[in-house]
């Protein structure tokens, strides 16, 4: 059991893989999920740019993504992953299902954040002669920013848990490591070590996200 000098670097590499997968998919999720959340919000009935058809279709897509268990989604999107990355194994390949799984999640969080922005602020800005995109850019997003940061933090934490799950089908990272060494080789100490590492990563991210959100809030 005194093989930690061999396992240690591998654990460090697995941690790096997890951070890489989660980092890249967070960026992609924000890039896709925030605009999607904005669209969901402004196309709602009585909102800035009501469009029942668009709203319904987007809502359906988001609900579909949200209702699928992630492990099923992993398998379902495998052909898409192969098309984009060329393989379904490894941490780079895992970024695709992670992003597809997290986008609907974040889009709903963004929607509820933007809905919290007082309609009076929107009205006041329209009264200044603003265009609708000005309202999104100068009112909805900046006013909801603290809440958006909190939502992104929750999404990152969810991504870490998804990434560990992806390990079950060869996705790389800490989840993969815990299954191959801890579970399949009956090494409870390795399982515990990965759990502790995951816990530390989640704690640090949540703490940083909370701090950032608090700094942005001026109310």
């Amino acid at each position: 059991m005194n093989d930690w000098d061999r396992i240690g670097p591998q654990l460090a590499e697995a941690t790096w893989d997890t951070l890489y997968m989660v980092g890249v998919s967070t960026v992609l999720t924000v890039l896709i999920g925030v605009p999607l959340g904005v669209l969901l919000t402004i196309t709602a009935p009585g909102a800035l740019s009501p469009s029942p058809a668009v709203h319904r279709v987007l809502g359906l897509l988001v609900n579909l993504g949200r209702s699928l268990p992630f492990i099923i989604l992993l398998v379902l999107v495998a052909p898409i992953t192969r098309g984009i990355v060329g393989t379904t194994i490894g941490s780079t390949a895992t970024i695709v299902p992670l992003t597809i799984g997290a986008v609907p999640f974040l889009a709903r969080l963004v929607e509820s954040s933007l809905r919290e922005v007082g309609p009076g602020k929107v009205e006041a800005t329209l009264a200044m002669g603003a265009r609708r995109r000005d309202v999104v850019r100068t009112v909805l997003l900046p006013e909801a920013l603290p809440s958006l940061v909190a939502g992104i933090t929750v999404t990152v934490v969810a991504l870490i848990s998804y990434s560990a799950m992806a390990g079950a089908i060869g996705g790389g990272g800490l989840g993969d490591f815990a299954i191959r060494y801890g579970y399949q080789q009956f090494r409870t100490d390795i399982t515990v070590a990965t759990v502790v590492l995951l816990l530390v990563v989640v704690q640090v991210l949540q703490w940083a996200g909370d701090r950032w959100a608090r700094r942005l809030a001026h109310v």
Binding site: E123, A124, A127, M128, G129, A130, T138, H218, V219
Partner: protein
């Protein structure tokens, strides 16, 4: 400067709610530089009416004209440009929490595409104008209600509008802040030559700042005109709201209603009745206030010992310019706001097309 021509706004029926006629054929005009008020009970359509002026609500029918431009004929782009000439102030300020006081004032200037140096200069001037130069870096959360409304007024004036709309601008403020904000509105109106349309349910606000007012009830204008004229008009429902007539019921003796104006002060009435005729005169109720900068009031006198001389004396007073009449219980205008009565009992529609028909209105 502002003209509404037979404007209707109907909100279509939605799930569980019937169609609502919020504004029902309103015509009114506000002259250049006028400070006009719209009053009425809650649900009378005031807030919808003010939103029709800058087309935040599109009218179902009728025309909206601001500064000679028919806004209802413009496309979305034209409406947006026209809105820059109309500032708006709200009950709940509607400042952005993510921006400082200066940032909020800068917002409309950014939207108008004005360069940074020019924006900075104008923001400093505007904060100075509203007396908040030292609070430019404060967030709305760090400001009092009165200060927030001052920032909102600075923001509304930033794009140099010709018209300022105030939607219950003082209704969320304490009396001291209300007085301060009203002083500021009066000052900017005079300094910048603005036309102001103010919506309120507080009659004290109208008395303090307005030149003219209309009374809205169930989406219709039921009374209106220059305040100096409205208040001397007998049985005007708007005058009854602005200066409630003292209750007649329960008073004894011969009752005389006196309308007090600067041209017809109450002193002469009292002198004739009590001094010359030697009658017993008591003031049963009433008040005298400053309205549109002038003294106005309504008093109810109880006169005893008249022995038939009272009517002749009142006629003599009237001939001399005093506004006096006999009062009997039940002859006051009915109060507004009792909206559950059948529609047939609604007062006949009275259109007041021009608020400034009377010549003696102060500007």
């Amino acid at each position: 400067m502002i003209e509404l021509r037979d404007v209707r706004k109907v909100f279509p029926a939605r799930r569980g709610a019937a169609e609502v006629v919020a504004v029902d054929g309103v015509s009114l005009s506000v002259a250049d530089g006028e400070f006009a008020g719209v009053v009425g009970p809650s649900g009378s359509g005031k807030s919808t009416l003010v939103r029709l002026v800058n087309l935040l609500e599109r009218p179902t029918s009728g025309q909206v004209v601001v500064d000679g431009q028919v806004l209802t004929d413009l496309d979305d782009d034209g409406v947006r440009r026209a809105r820059r000439a109309v500032g708006m102030v709200f009950q709940h300020f509607n400042l952005l929490d993510s921006r400082t006081a200066a940032g909020n004032v800068e917002h409309p200037l950014e939207l108008a595409g004005i360069g940074k140096a020019e924006r900075r200069r104008r923001v400093a001037d505007l904060l100075d104008l509203v007396g908040l130069a030292d609070r430019h870096a404060s967030r709305p959360a760090q400001l009092s209600g009165g200060q927030k409304q001052r920032v909102a007024i600075a923001r509304a004036l930033a794009a140099r509008p010709k018209v300022l709309l105030c939607d219950e601008a003082t209704s969320a403020l304490d009396p001291a802040s209300t007085a301060g904000v009203l002083d500021l509105l009066r000052q900017v109106r005079a300094d910048l030559g603005l036309t102001v349309l103010l919506i309120t349910h507080e009659m004290a606000v109208v008395r303090a700042v307005c030149d003219s007012a209309v009374l809205l009830d169930r989406g219709r204008v039921v009374d209106g005109g220059p305040l100096t004229e409205v208040l001397t008009r007998p049985h005007s429902p708007l005058a009854a709201q602005l200066l409630p007539a003292p209750a007649v019921a329960g008073a004894r003796g011969d009752l005389v209603r006196v309308t007090v104006t600067e041209a017809a002060p109450e002193g002469r009435v009292l002198r004739v009745l009590a001094g010359e005729l030697g009658l017993d005169v008591e003031v049963v109720g009433g008040s005298v206030e400053t309205v549109a900068g002038r003294r106005f009031g309504r008093l109810l006198l109880s006169v005893t010992g008249g022995d038939g001389r009272l009517d002749a004396a009142l006629q003599r007073l009237r001939d001399g310019g005093s506004l006096v009449e006999r009062a009997t219980p039940g002859d006051e205008p009915p109060p507004l706001g009792a909206h559950d009565e059948p529609d047939g009992a609604a007062p006949d529609r009275l259109v007041v097309p021009h608020l400034l028909d009377a010549p003696e209105v102060q500007r």
